[in-house]
Symmetry: C2
Subunit: 182 residues, 2 copies
Amino acid sequence: MRADAARNLEAVLSASARLLGADPGARITDIADAAGVDRRTIYRRFQSREELLHAIYRARLDALAAVIDAARLEEAPVLVALHALAEGGIRLSREWPVDIRAAVESDVVIRREEINDRMGAFLERAQREGLIDSGLPEGLPLAMLHAVLRTLALELPDLSSARAADLAVDSFLNGLGAGRTR
Amino acid sequence: MRADAARNLEAVLSASARLLGADPGARITDIADAAGVDRRTIYRRFQSREELLHAIYRARLDALAAVIDAARLEEAPVLVALHALAEGGIRLSREWPVDIRAAVESDVVIRREEINDRMGAFLERAQREGLIDSGLPEGLPLAMLHAVLRTLALELPDLSSARAADLAVDSFLNGLGAGRTR
DNA sequence: TGGAAATGTCACGCGAGTGTAGCGCTTATG
DNA sequence: CATAAGCGCTACACTCGCGTGACATTTCCA
């Protein structure tokens, strides 16, 4: 692929993630404008709107899988892995701010579930090792972790990903309370 | 208004909140089907799709304002008010599962900001009174509270709103950690 | 620098969803 | 039970975004 074509592809993917993340019904024309490219150029790389969306989802899943591998959820000390997961997850949510839950393509759904399983298993290890409360409803830790990461990534964009990760881990484990109310 | 008409209106609003919450691009036809009503009936009550969306937003804002009033954010003991806010907020998010952040109508935006201001002021009181950590980034407590409530309301639908509120307050203030890591 | 790759532009057909119209039937309510 | 409010149904025009085609032009790279 030619260098300028690669640049354009990059710009299209980035603009797509941004616009489609903010509004899943965003028009191809607007994405093209945001990427500084003609609408026709997008259709040269992607057969259809669906395929573009699919590519964005895949990009996010790829990045997420890389983050999880790097965090070594299975072997690293729980707290260390949790922090690595938080920082990577936050950075990734900012780079690909699409909501993967909206995906319906079967391969995306499968990969998403695989990743959720790995994160779920990690959180169960954290519970066995006494870092996370064991009496919580099924699925709550995973749901809450996602929520905390998404919130810090998107609603406090001025925080560095490192600082945001600190806050994410602290909020997740200890909450925002000043003293002990428990 | 005739009684059956009122019933239909109710069904339409409820179905709209559900479908539009899951997918903001949901078709009027699908909403009508879900409500057990003809498409034409919806257009008899609402001039346009926009106006229907607007009505849903207003319904959610009305319910939220009522919850906030009932919680007596300004006078009640902070922890009591927080719990009332949590329970009401969770119940309301389940009844009107639309994302108010997607609204663009100016009056909706204004009312939403007013409500956010009241909640923000309440959380500042909680910080002054020592319930919430005072060293947190601007806006984090409010964003996190919204996130916790939304998560418990929508991702753990089997929990009663009372139980969910308990968990929401505990997660918000103390996190999910089993011991102290701080 | 020449040829191939990539893009921009204008045009068009297509399908889907919106909003409207009229008419006959159902149903609540006095 | 009468009457008017409300509804379902079929059909239609209209808009908008999608996806494609052809061709001239620009840009990279060997």
